[in-house]
């Protein structure tokens, strides 16, 4: 009955109305179906059926009275950065010919990265209030706190002298940022027409080949029938004007990039929690035209109808992912490799930071995955590439968040567990240069 082919405010409003109406009907019908036993004294207050948790809680959907499930909760990252001499460099494993070194450390909760023409790397954070800048002068790297007092500044992007920062519910910019690195510049807000939800409210930010800022508004919870202002990707002009919604049915993407050949946008999307140990997989998606719907919360990974919201829908209504990234893997930052330092087979292929699962007894992910593409942009294979962030004892010693190309063809990897940035190089190299 409910078709999700066209979409927009009207449809979302209709869906919301239908959902509300259905709920109201249930509530009205319930007493009639369960008449109170006659002549029983009013019972002492007993725990009623567990009330719905607020939409943002990661515990929504957790099965009751299941000891294995009760052990699972988001894994808290250490609040302090790991000291440089304690970083788990020797635990990380790269394919033959590749080297990993420490690029910079001492940035608690280091998350998304951006780069300017002078080689300065900007690093956002989700749980701290800071954006860091790593300057690189004559081979000497230095970490600066660029801005403090921000609220969940996960997203950073850079273009023509200006740094853009995405906080939980606003996007701001710092012009001439390179001249202000130690001057505590004050970001100027350019866009704040955003929900304030904490759940999946932090943002990834990138600038497309069309010179527009792209960012997502995630679903405000694990699995919710979101309204017309959530579960989507938006873009806007660099001055904050002209915002538009360009893709829908997105639960929470924390990484996207454009295919350097086709200019199509690829994005990771994290699947819901608590469906099962092995389902659903996170998605890698490709936008081939504006306005596509990728299924959440009705359908996950292209072929799993959600047990709660999937009724009345078919997964065929939605655009399927181009690749499955693993169950609860938390596939976050991703970039096409555009450098020439790595062997040519890696050029224009995708590197994906899989932060690693929490909602799974035997954890999955905690690596950099390599996604190889066919000529037509479809996916040929997904394989682990840099491993060791997740150790065989099922514990993390690091968690990758974002990857970024450097001008010399090396690749940086941010790690919010250690508050550090790793550098991946190829070729005969002085070993462990950073230490």
């Amino acid at each position: 009955m409910i078709r999700r082919v066209p979409r927009g405010k009207l449809l979302a409003a209709t869906l919301a109305l239908l959902a509300t109406t259905a709920l109201a009907q249930q509530q009205q019908e319930a007493p009639a179906q369960a008449p109170a036993p006659a002549a029983t004294p009013a019972p002492a207050p007993a725990a009623p059926a567990a009330a719905a948790l607020p939409p943002g809680s990661p515990l929504i959907g957790r099965p009751d009275n299941n000891p294995a499930a009760a052990k699972l909760a988001p894994v808290p990252a250490p609040p302090l950065a790991t000291a440089e001499n304690k970083l788990p460099l020797d635990k990380l494993k790269a394919p033959k010919g590749f080297n990993i070194e420490v690029y910079a450390s001492g940035m608690p909760n280091a998350r998304s990265m951006a780069l300017d023409e002078k080689g300065t790397v900007f690093v956002g954070s989700r749980l701290q209030d800071k954006v860091y800048a790593i300057t690189n002068k004559d081979g000497k790297r230095q970490v600066h706190v660029l801005v403090s007092g921000l609220y969940r500044p996960n997203g950073v992007a850079y273009k023509n002298g200006t740094l853009y920062i995405a906080e939980l519910s606003q996007i701001s910019k710092i012009d001439n940022v390179e001249d202000q690195i130690d001057k505590s510049p004050k970001p100027v807000v350019i866009y704040k027409d955003l929900p304030k939800d904490e759940a999946h409210g932090w943002k990834f930010l990138a600038i497309g080949p069309d010179n527009k800022l792209y960012f997502e508004v995630g679903q405000p919870g694990n699995n919710v029938l979101h309204d017309e202002n959530h579960g989507q990707l938006r873009r806007m002009n660099l001055d904050g004007t002209g915002a538009e919604k360009i893709a829908f049915g997105i639960r929470n993407t924390v990484g996207f990039d454009w295919n350097p050949k086709t200019h199509e946008l690829y994005f990771t999307d994290n699947g819901r929690d608590w469906l099962s140990e092995d389902l659903p997989n996170d998605e890698l998606n490709r936008i081939t035209k504006l306005g596509q719907d990728f299924g959440a919360p009705y359908c996950y990974q292209g072929n799993v109808a959600d047990p709660e919201f999937g009724w009345g829908h078919s997964c065929s209504e939605f655009v399927p992912p181009v690749a499955l990234m693993g169950p609860h893997a938390a596939a976050l930052g991703m970039r096409f490799y555009t450098g020439t330092m790595f062997p040519s087979e890696y050029r224009d292929q995708i590197f994906v930071a899989r932060h690693g699962s929490w909602n799974k007894s035997k954890k999955f992910g905690g690596d950099i995955a390599l996604v190889k593409l066919n000529k037509d942009g479809s996916v040929k294979s997904v394989e682990p590439f840099i491993t060791g962030f997740l150790q065989p004892d099922n514990n993390y010693v690091g968690r990758p968040v974002d990857v970024m190309n450097m001008p010399d063809g090396s690749m940086l990897i941010s790690d919010d567990w250690n508050g550090a940035i790793w550098r991946l190089t190829y070729g005969p190299n002085k070993k462990v240069a950073g230490r």
């Binding site: 009330a51 608690p108 701290q128 403090s148």
Partner: protein, 190 residues
């Protein structure tokens, strides 16, 4: 009790560098002057710290230092602490004895009412069934009632941001009346 604290200070922070050990030893009496010497605060609005989760204490001290959480005089107290100092204080605080539930007569009806709220809102999921907490989730068992009210109201009106968003989400549907009942219960439950 002084000697106990002194012993504790010397014993459990032995893994820290000498400078941090010295600082923790010097400053701890100042902390406990307000927070209470046996893990139990006697001052209104000041939380008991006994047996608090070391992870949680580290996060809170960090938030005070970085002014991500504003609470006079803690921002001043924490402003010069190094990461190692934070860990030193967290470690020693976690080893203070746990506070004891509030004494005096108990309103059973109110306790029963609050117990339902605890179940409904699943406080025991993260804070654990005996409210001892775990890692980044604080011990709330036998915390001061007035402090629990203050903390919950802070999360509710967003004047206190959590390090992560858990409490902001959980507190959304809870009314002020329910906050009072929850605080009453958690301060007393045995």
């Amino acid at each position: 009790m002084r000697s106990f604290v002194a012993l504790l200070a010397l014993g459990c922070v032995a893994a820290l560098p000498a400078s941090a050990q010295q600082l923790v030893k010097e400053r701890l009496p100042t902390c406990l002057a307000c927070h209470g010497e046996n893990g139990q605060s006697q001052l209104e609005g000041v939380p008991s710290l006994g047996a608090q989760q070391a992870f949680y204490v580290t996060v809170q001290l960090l938030m005070f230092r970085e002014k991500m959480r504003i609470a006079d005089p803690m921002n001043d107290m924490a402003k010069d602490l190094t990461d190692t100092d934070l860990q030193g204080f967290a470690e020693i605080i976690s080893q203070l004895p746990a506070p004891k539930p509030a004494a005096g007569p108990v309103d059973d009806a109110r306790m029963a009412r609050a117990q339902v709220l605890v179940q409904q809102n699943r406080c025991n999921f993260c804070h654990t069934p005996n409210f001892a907490g775990q890692q980044n989730v604080p011990r709330i068992a036998a915390q001061r009632e007035d402090y629990l009210v203050k903390a919950l109201r802070g999360y509710k009106d967003n004047s206190r941001h959590g390090y992560d968003a858990s409490m902001a989400d959980v507190i959304a549907p809870i009314t002020d009346e329910q906050i009072l009942d929850l605080a009453y219960y958690i301060a007393r439950v045995k």
